[in-house]
Symmetry: D2
Subunit: 340 residues, 4 copies
């Protein structure tokens, strides 16, 4: 039984983590923190936990070093780096859901975010996308859990870039449910400002663009253009990627390449020709569904779908924890997608 | 390991049953049927099951007698009675999610529904509300799983009627998500006919009214008025009950009565004064949350919330199965509510 | 051409007012104010107005006395009374959309809200429900525009209480879209905290209860219990009223009574037996639709539907303005309901 | 006063047409037809019209030739061509909202749809996009109203293709509300199959692709790839177009080009740099909002938003009628966008 702490437990990723961890047979949550709600029971913040998990929230800003085998940091970027710096002891596993430890190149991070105050930890960190970096995650004590958009985009592109098949730039058109904006009282996240509407935002300036770009460049030297949109729904990301192959490959063979690349991956499902992902069919699960179509002129459309709070955040964090602990990777992550 | 069949597996209750049963450690689903989709894999009908449960659908209209230890009938009323008549052998447990075996009094059934063609089975059937009839469910081979609205209304009223506390009639104002209308292509269930709208329907003529009424009358001889409304959301029922007590009891003591009545019930949660249920907080779970307020003049407001597909249908059906099989009642039903 | 000012123009009622007034042939909006957004063009706050209405917002806290023929106050209660006190000159018409001038009895107001700082104006104010108080609105310079819930509840009850037909208390079960909570960044109004959920709130303590109660008591001395609920949709209120008649009257005759009571009302539509309102069918219009059913034992169910931002706020405010100015009451209010 | 007929009045485009035409000062609707609902009043089909427009529906399959000055055909493709063939007399103006008269090249039409049975009328037909073909619409008696997706895509691309600025193919990623699927009881349009989900469909095989392609080719010989997606909302289309310019042009200058191209267009609004369209801000209006960003490497992102039922269907049809009748083009189309 490993003891686990959720640092910053009162957002949607914290709640989703708790929900997953409560069904984990080898885990005990022995710490939940919040500065805003300290002293309250977490079931007062989230009444759905009433009678199930009534733990009292302790302040985040307190010394929790060494108290847990695994710490999940569900904090804003900037805040996470300080907490990680404090907690890091090369014994506890730290899984950071912010952007602070996703970038190997501090220059890219600082350009997109802010000055890094725990730069000495960056060499210890690994980008927590198990499908690409499982082996390195195994021995890591500091895991930078990928962003939700990057997870959907990188998994969609990986089989092509790994094999150096793309010509020219790609366009990444992503659409996310509102939970991606977090559980903060912001005008733009109000029901009346979101429902019955649809809009792009941060075109060419979203901070997930450099995160996707730096991963893509590791495999193939191509540029990306990333355009996120806000969907009037709670959860789910659908990413549609457009580009052109160096040499045309037909749909069947491209699908075969994807199937082969991901053949041992428990959470990736490749659709047959003519079938495309729907966020409904991965909702509340750790799956990433991928479908695609290619055309005679070499152009391609790849579509991926994830639940932004699960495979795009807390589910992937638990997957990383399982890998890092050396236990079965799918433990606590076998729940079916749920709809309606 | 018991073998289970889902008869009529391609509706929302069928899908929800499969989702719950897949996590049940003592159950194997060895039969899924559908006349409409026979020959297809169920994962073609519900792509979310792809790679998880790819069983082929066999025709419902085929001889399945004796093939399973437990049969769940997810069929329309009228059709269920015939299927039950065919399958009943006093060995297999039959759990019928239609209305066909909910009424002890055939006259009430036939007035609300249609001529009963398996009347000889009615004496063998038990109304599958474990909180009221657990002992009888234990030994039953034929369980009439309650309606979604009746579950929410009866559980809200039970502590009061059991103790004969109500004076005069009660008004039951219920609101249900659209999944209650089933997975049929009906104009009234279209997205554009439901979203951004709210309406009552079938006032005074809904068939769940006699189902609630006959249960209420077993405990206290009062009348009910039932008004259902359609909510622009997928799942969840919230029921608000209005009436008057014979003698005023304050909110705290009324809550205490509820807490005492349901103290051993694993799926009923009673809210503290000033806290009321929200369907979000029971979504995807088998919980029924109840909150209430009473007034000096004896009038009361009781509010209950369930997930209509879980405690209002498939979850309760699995609860009934667990009781009937003599295994732990909460098995496979411990998943947390999920939001957002 | 009358000149009109919208004081506090950047909420949903302000926007809805502007939308209605822009189609009014006898009106020119010559003043829009906001403290938060002062100096910005209103089309920067509401991009849908781009190229249509690009007026610059001036501070609310500035001397606008005498600048307009009609002032609409779209301010929070407390703030409105001060502004009205400042603007009142017995020449300009002031229509206040807050609660500050809805109560003839200052004691009731102060119990529910706060100390009234412009009590000397209360005798000049009229409750702006034209169906009940048209004659007094005609000569008024200060109109307290009714609350959204009270509009729906009072119009539903009026034909019964006017004729003294009700026995005992009534239960008023109301459900409102989220826009009723205003355009403020509040956690409880977030998309993810509202969509796919439904909940009651403020049972027995909502401030619209005394507003409904004081109107009801003017006609018949009965008590009310008011329970509001939050609907996962933008706009619309549906109110379901439960109670009992002194003497049973059948549905047809009760409908006839309603039709007769409201026969000259341009914005009230009475449904035939078996037909009930749907908020979709009044959306974006000033209609109040009413349907009902009575039972042999005297109990009744009345259902009313309005758009909370139109008949429940800004549409009714324009209706009041039209009455007060002595022009055709439906001017600028003849737009059809809109769906989907 | 012109007399107008709506042939096939009981779908969403029929309803939207009626809503717009009811506010048109020079129009009288003297004919509404439906085979399905013949004999009923249209206000029984659409209760929101109760007391406003209670016209009786006559059968579509009846001789209406010469009865109206303008006929709007809101019929499925295939059916429209027969009706147009019957009604065409070179006097009445026929505006067809189906695809039957959108294609000058019968070969493209027949490949995408079906054998054309009124081919002799095609030379008389004009593609009803006023921004491109106003002069020809003026003298036309047969107008093929454009598809919703094509309207959004062509208006987004027109300034670039008109000036021959694009290099290589473009990717058109469109997202539509559910009303685009029509008012038919289809499984895929059910609330529970749409809400809280998002999916692409008909990639590379949607019939609006050849409609966009044939218009684009008239101006510049480039290929397009069109991918439609289904949004969980009622109305609105947002189209995001990706491609590359032959020579990089910066965002400001590209916007200036758009502004110049559309400078006299009453329904097109060009956004400033960094501002992008939102379907909310055109909802219920005839506007098409366009925003864009270009990059140093010549790649571009153009975003357009329309209400699919207004500028994408019935509003544009009325705009075409106004042009064809020689009256002011914006008559009855000046209603503001509406939200929330």
């Amino acid at each position: 039984m490993w003891e686990v702490g959720v640092i910053g437990a009162t957002g949607y990723t914290g709640l989703t983590l708790i929900s997953i961890l409560k069904s984990h047979p080898h885990i005990k949550i022995n710490l939940v923190t919040s500065n805003t709600y300290k002293g309250k029971r977490i079931s007062e913040v989230f009444p759905l936990l009433r009678g199930i998990f009534d733990e009292t929230l302790v302040p985040t800003d307190q010394d929790h070093r060494g108290r847990c085998d695994v710490f999940f940091l569900c904090l804003p970027h900037g805040k996470s780096m300080d907490e990680a710096d404090h907690l890091y002891d090369n014994k506890s596993i730290i899984i950071d859901l912010s952007a602070d430890f996703r970038f190997e190149d501090i220059g890219i991070y600082e350009k997109a975010y802010l000055k890094h105050r725990a730069a000495h930890l960056i060499p210890h960190a690994v980008f927590g996308l198990p499908e690409l970096y499982r082996d390195r995650i195994k021995n890591s004590k500091l895991i930078g859990n990928p962003g939700c958009y990057p997870t959907s985009a990188i998994l969609a592109l990986y089989p092509l870039i790994k094999n150096n098949l793309i010509e020219g730039n790609v366009f990444i058109d992503s659409k996310s449910g509102v939970s991606g904006a977090g559980r903060e009282a912001k005008l733009g996240s109000l029901f009346c400002e979101v429902s019955e509407g649809f809009r792009p935002y941060n075109i060419g300036i979203h901070r997930h663009e450099p995160e996707i770009q730096k991963e893509v460049k590791k495999y193939q030297d191509i540029g990306i253009r990333f355009v996120p949109h806000l969907l009037p729904m709670n959860r789910g990301i659908l990413t549609t990627v457009y580009g052109r192959l160096k040499q045309p490959i037909d749909t069947e063979n491209t699908i075969a390449l994807y199937a082969k690349t991901y053949k041992d991956e428990p959470f990736i499902r490749i659709m047959e020709p003519g079938i495309y992902p729907d966020t409904r069919f991965v909702r509340f699960s750790n799956y990433c569904d991928i479908g695609l179509k290619t055309f005679d002129d070499g152009s391609f459309v790849i579509v991926s779908a994830i639940d932004n709070l699960v495979k795009g955040a807390s589910g992937q964090a638990v997957q990383n924890m399982n890998v890092a602990l050396g236990i079965h990777e799918t433990t606590a992550l076998t729940g079916l997608p749920q709809y309606p």
